[in-house]
Symmetry: C2
Subunit: 393 residues, 2 copies
């Protein structure tokens, strides 16, 4: 079993009344002047932004607001946020939104106390000595950024999307009110759940077969998410199901399901190039790639795929034919994706055939110009990645 | 579903190499002068104490030592620790041991910065404004104190055992090396696992039937602990099984398995009086009480007991007879307790019949002189508690 560190210090305040505590939580974690960071019109339209600002005001917490975060959050807005924080003497960043807003908040939080260019942290040229404290009011369960240490920012200058992880960036608190997710459209709901399940699968498909406890927790989490996504697609205002998806999202990416295992993460990397080239929803892109990744790699550890088929998808085990059971698990996963409106190949995702040139270009980018490999379940070079794109075509 | 707060900020550093990081972790969390707090001879004999002291010395961290913590840790030693910390300018408490040592460390940590009597926190007369930081090197997985906010101290003056919970007392880090648990005797191992499973069951037996995610995680954890205890009883040096028990211990009591539920905790309270009167091992006492508690209360929510029987113990479900399935689950739990050397009634626990006077005395104490009730799955007054002691006789 791998040695591991598990550290998920974020205080999760969960439920219908959770937002009421925002001012006292900001004060508890040392905030005096807050940047309220948000995305577009939905935070305003829903009344959430007004509510949070009102609660801060009533609680005697001073604040300024900065909206405009878009999916794949931009470096230019991060710069704007850093400038605003310095001008206004902000000492606490509160993200109100989903993963993109939280990621943007994390970037601002390390940029404010740093004299140089914040992008240096993302390119690995520098490392931050400190962060302003970050916290969030979550509205879209998907990315898991509310408890994670990672942030992904896009530099429009060169269209480069890079991730950066730092323990200091973990949100101090995360307010989660499942009612706020009632209005999420079906496609975004399904893509979000796909992303959460994939966060778990990336850790689960490991050669470390000796940590049953982590595996069993991961299986329970995946089964629960699969069960509840059908409930919310049938009834978007099913509080019980929305709540389990929201909490499941955090558990899928706070490292609980990775303790003692080596993660793979190849599907995420392969998908990143796909969404970079075709501007698709990340979760949907993962569904389009995973079945092909799975068929390409399953022979590396057939019993792992058998376990997934049986314990997660309820496939009857053929004890005489492990490979057959493994493949039936991949087919069952495809049926699940289709049942929630997700694609299982690139054609279904983007509505057209991807070309050979595009495949080669994505594989080249995914391996930083053929310089690195991806994955650990099976280590994938650019030729492997090209083959997976072709299978997923 | 109940609103909840989940906050488990302890940094868990887990594995064979984990102890090596002790000095850097102390410094990371602001320690300059450490009190190394420990129990009796086993920490010395195993070489662990010397190793930790050597690592602190090599890491340039100054320290003083205080041993002598006993099971049911005493207030007098807490006072001694507080005096020593003040004399020596200690600013960080490192517990090396099991739950009793960590509980004692937590009491010292809130006593040092407080002008009054530390026992006031346990009796509810005062509330601490701050704690010295606490951390631990865990050697006995059972109590879950390494990630919990609670501490139980015995005041020898009057023989009163009281618990106190405070978010500030959660250890900053917990070093867990499963190899250190290889030498735990079978009885202590089995009693520890019984305690962990009971920490989960106290949360699981709830009328909140609408949080499947928490329930499923709890079931996975209980099944895993039950599986692994047989492995370590067969081979005390089975690293894989020891590791899962050690990590499972923390997950059983860091509130993960309580999210969205109302806990019961009656079995713990009923057992406290038993171990108070007969000085038995807490885990063994829980096993002696639980089957009788279960038979006394199961009709309050039969489906919960059916779920436990089927999902945790693998009892075949008789769909025509829910009560029969529920009762078979309780019987299966008794077989499990017997199989790992635990008692299922008080006679097996203490080797003699408990008297009517003793039963009435324990029930009286358990309800603070008939003033309070215990439990929430079924609210129990002193007559109910007497009845359970009689059933468990």
């Amino acid at each position: 079993m791998r040695d591991f560190v598990y550290h998920a210090p974020t205080e999760v305040v969960f439920g219908k009344q959770s937002e009421e505590k925002v001012a006292s939580l900001v004060k508890k974690y040392g905030g005096h002047k807050v940047l309220v960071h948000y995305g577009g019109k939905s935070a305003k339209k829903s009344g959430l932004l007004d509510k949070i600002c009102g609660l801060l005001r009533d609680g005697g917490v001073d604040f300024v607001c900065l909206g405009g975060v878009v999916p794949n959050p931009r470096l230019s807005l991060v710069h704007e946020g850093i400038d605003l924080c310095r001008q206004e003497g902000v000492d606490f960043i509160l993200a109100v939104g989903g993963g993109s807003v939280i990621d943007s908040a994390k970037a601002i939080a390390c940029g404010v106390p740093y004299d140089g260019e914040v992008w240096d942290f993302y390119t690995g040229k520098a490392s931050p000595a400190c962060y302003l404290p970050v916290a969030c009011v979550l509205t879209i369960p998907a990315a898991g950024s509310e408890m994670s240490e990672s942030s992904v920012i896009t530099n429009e200058d060169g269209d480069v999307k890079l991730g950066y992880s730092n323990q200091l960036s973990r949100p101090k608190f995360a307010i989660m009110n499942p009612v706020r997710t009632f209005t999420l459209p079906p496609y975004q709901t399904a893509a979000g759940v796909t992303d959460m399940i994939m966060h778990t699968m990336e850790r689960y498909f490991s050669h470390d077969d000796d940590m049953d406890l982590t595996d069993s927790l991961a299986e329970a989490l995946m089964r629960d998410l699969m069960d509840n996504v059908f409930k919310v697609l049938a009834d978007p205002e099913d509080y019980r199901a929305r709540a389990q998806i929201m909490w499941g999202c955090s558990l899928a990416h706070n490292d609980l399901t990775g303790c003692g295992l080596t993660g793979d993460w190849a599907t995420h990397e392969i998908e990143h190039e796909l969404s970079g080239m075709f501007d698709v929803t990340h979760g949907a892109g993962l569904a389009a790639i995973w079945p092909s990744w799975a068929r390409y790699v399953y022979k590396e550890n057939v019993s792992r795929f058998v376990r997934f088929a049986v314990n997660v998808l309820g496939v009857p085990q053929d004890f005489t034919d492990p490979e057959g059971t493994a493949l039936k698990g991949i087919e069952a996963m495809e049926r699940f994706y289709h049942a929630i409106g997700m694609p299982v190949n690139i054609h279904e995702l983007i509505g057209k055939e991807v070309s050979e040139d595009e495949i080669r270009e994505m594989a080249r980018k995914c391996t930083r110009g053929h310089k690195i490999t991806q994955g650990s379940f099976k280590v994938l070079g650019s030729e492997d990645i090209e083959a997976i794109y072709r299978m997923a075509r």
